[in-house]
Point group: C2
Chain length 443, copies 2
């Protein structure tokens, strides 16, 4: 039963105000969100408000008020000690950095509370990926979540309805009303959840490019600034790296394959781009936690957790604590891996010029390694391995990428191979500059 609406404000007047590009006060925003969450304000009124917010914009004070209202709609965790540092990535193709940076940071003494999502659109989800490890439980209570964080320094669970339920309801509406890609709305959505997780600092990986939600570097930087500024309003320190997502991160795309690549990176054998990004994000977590005074010292500390094996050890601790088999780290045959390999060979000599990155995500869905609709099962065993990066020289006949699939999938594999060749990967006869991974930073 919807609660009776308080007559402090009026739904119509507030929509009208934002429509006219006027500023909404924090109490007005709080009133609107509370009454929407409780079911008093209808979806069709909220969607009109969201479109007005989208087009007319929200300043930093309004964004903070929206964040606060969504934060207060659910439970809020509190952690003592300033070493609780959270990480958020806007997501991309092959983004498995969380599995690497969290154990690294935890091995340095940071406490890393991770509440992660499932696959959305063309990008895979952290929760889906870790579930490639049989038995790993991501559905823990907030109590268990807190206990494991205090005990082990890292914990990874899926999103829970207890945290920011207003955001969940609003996000579902934005998803069907073309109001997703608004910087203030994205900021409030991310920050309300991150603040509820009780971290004292946050490191953001804001991706742009063909494999990210933000296609444009300028938009990514604007989002980064908005997140950091909003965090400051809540007295949270933050760092945001602006990173390139115009080619897959690392080499592996697909659930089991990304877990294996993460473990290899923790062992010191990871691809250069993934290693660089994971270490840099972890170093900023160490810095924000106050463990080191300078980023240079933090960089040295995080590197050491790879060479001394302490990061890999933390990863095993997390697996064990949440029901996964830690032996997977030494025996990849414990993971589901499809039997067949089909490799795309370079049709001509030249240089890798570009990837249409979001298409890779959609092709993985075609292969069964992602969801077409909400209730689809994911096949963790299939995936892609990319052997080349932008700028790499290739000779005709060199392997460019490999599809890992089931024997029964010959038809879909043939189609994917053709699309990879014609629509995803472009070769150039002229030399191409490699892409820089980390292009900018907002503190």
């Amino acid at each position: 039963m919807p609660k009776k609406i308080s007559n402090e404000f009026n739904v119509y007047t507030l929509i009208d105000k934002k429509k006219k590009k006027e500023k909404l006060s924090p109490t007005e925003i709080k009133w609107f969100i509370e009454n929407y969450t409780s079911g008093v304000i209808a979806d069709y009124q909220m969607s009109a408000m969201l479109m007005a917010m989208f087009i007319q914009g929200m300043d930093i004070q309004e964004t903070a008020a929206l964040t606060d209202a969504m934060l207060e709609s659910g439970e809020q965790l509190k952690f003592v000690g300033k070493n609780v540092i959270d990480k958020h990535s806007t997501g991309g193709i092959g983004d498995k950095a969380s599995f690497i940076l969290a154990p690294i940071a935890a091995a340095c003494g940071v406490k890393v509370p991770m509440i992660a999502g499932r696959g959305l659109g063309f990008t895979g989800g952290t929760v889906d990926k870790i579930e490639a490890i049989e038995g790993f439980k991501t559905a823990l209570s907030l109590k268990e979540f807190q206990n494991l964080l205090n005990k082990n320094g890292l914990v990874l669970i899926g999103q829970t309805p207890d945290i920011a339920p207003a955001d969940r309801k609003i996000y579902a509406l934005r998803d069907v009303t073309a109001t997703i890609d608004s910087i203030p709305l994205i900021t409030a959505s991310i920050m309300s959840k991150k603040l509820a997780e009780g971290a004292n600092g946050m490191v953001f990986d804001i991706k742009y490019g063909s494999g990210a939600f933000m296609k444009d570097k300028k938009d990514a930087k604007a989002l980064a600034k908005s997140l950091i500024a909003t965090g400051k309003r809540f007295k949270k320190k933050g760092v945001a790296l602006i990173t390139d997502m115009n080619q897959p991160l690392g080499q592996a795309v697909g659930h089991s394959h990304e877990i294996i690549e993460s473990i290899e990176t923790l062992k010191g054998n990871g691809p250069e781009d993934l290693t660089e990004l994971s270490l840099e994000l972890a170093a900023y977590m160490v810095l924000l936690a106050g463990i080191d005074k300078t980023i240079e010292k933090a960089r040295i500390r995080v590197k050491k957790t790879i060479t001394d094996g302490s990061a890999l050890e933390k990863f095993k601790v997390m697996l064990k604590a949440q029901g996964g088999n830690p032996e997977v780290v030494d025996d990849y045959s414990l993971l589901p891996i499809a039997d067949e390999h089909t490799t795309l060979l370079a049709p001509k000599s030249g240089y890798v010029k570009s990837f249409v990155n979001d298409k890779i995500g959609l092709l993985l869905i075609d292969l069964g390694g992602g969801r077409k609709s909400k209730d689809d099962e994911i096949d963790h065993s299939v995936g892609f391995v990319f052997h080349k990066k932008v700028g790499d020289q290739v000779k005709k006949g060199d392997p460019i990428m490999t599809i890992v699939h089931h024997a029964s999938q010959v038809n879909v594999v043939a189609k994917i191979l053709e699309k990879m060749n014609k629509e995803v990967i472009t070769l150039s006869s002229q030399k191409v500059k490699p892409l820089k991974m980390i292009v900018d930073k907002v503190i």
Copy 2:
């Protein structure tokens, strides 16, 4: 049961397009409106689209396409002969001009098909007003409507679900999502209904000021231009007068009182402003119908229908044809009129400076002469009579306005009297220029 959505377009993509201020094609608009009307597109998606249309605007081609889509959602009447001319007023306080101009135009040989609305917000409705005459039926079938128009040259019915059902559904949504006052949306709403009524030309009375939906003269002119331009796309001739609504039109406000004032105007005893406006609108109807070649000749013709009694006769014909007692024209005691009169006397000498006109409409609702919610009964017997116009000189103690009410209403009358004095009517010690009735014209 909602129909299956055609996959010609995608709801999300079209909302996204308008959100980005891109132009929608006629087929895209038609697809969206059709699927909303049939229930396939949800209210919350339509309201996001309406807000995007509101803020980002629609050009004349989009407005015409929206009009066309809403027009085609329902039945469309067709009349032979170019003398079928419709009239639309955007409404205001004391606006009873339809009851006067329609019989005048009909007496000149124009066929006047009127489909009118009920009271909305602070303005009264034409249908509510005519129902002060006992037995008058406004719920006729479209067949009866056509027959009476052909037979008598005028007919007045209420809105029917057969005409532009898409507009009805969209209007209800606009009403609760702050998307009413958009010129393209208003244009499509008005024009879809007017075009469905089958008229070959249209005369518009676009009001601005404190007693109109458009507060600003500039907005009124923009709406007038939009209506005329949209009409032209459908090969309909049109004239729009921009008229002042900063004081009540005529003297009477309230249902029975407005009917009496209309009849008095048809007899040649009407207030100057109401007479001027009704004659001018009727003259343009005569001109558009092709009965006269110049507006000057049309003006002479319409005046004659008052002096020779032919307009009053047409009014009686309409009453008789639709079940009302034509004797009301000579015996006002056949109308419900409350017994008591309470008069506001000028508290000081001076000049009438201004009226806060929309408050008059709200005070009439307080008196029982309007609806607070959709299903309220209207008391046709109560009302206000304003004895002064802006610019009139008053002496202390002169009657300014009179409340006609029931004996039981002493408390509410006292409050209304106080508000009329303190919040509605302002007197000035300095001379004030009278307001011009017709301020501009769009052809």
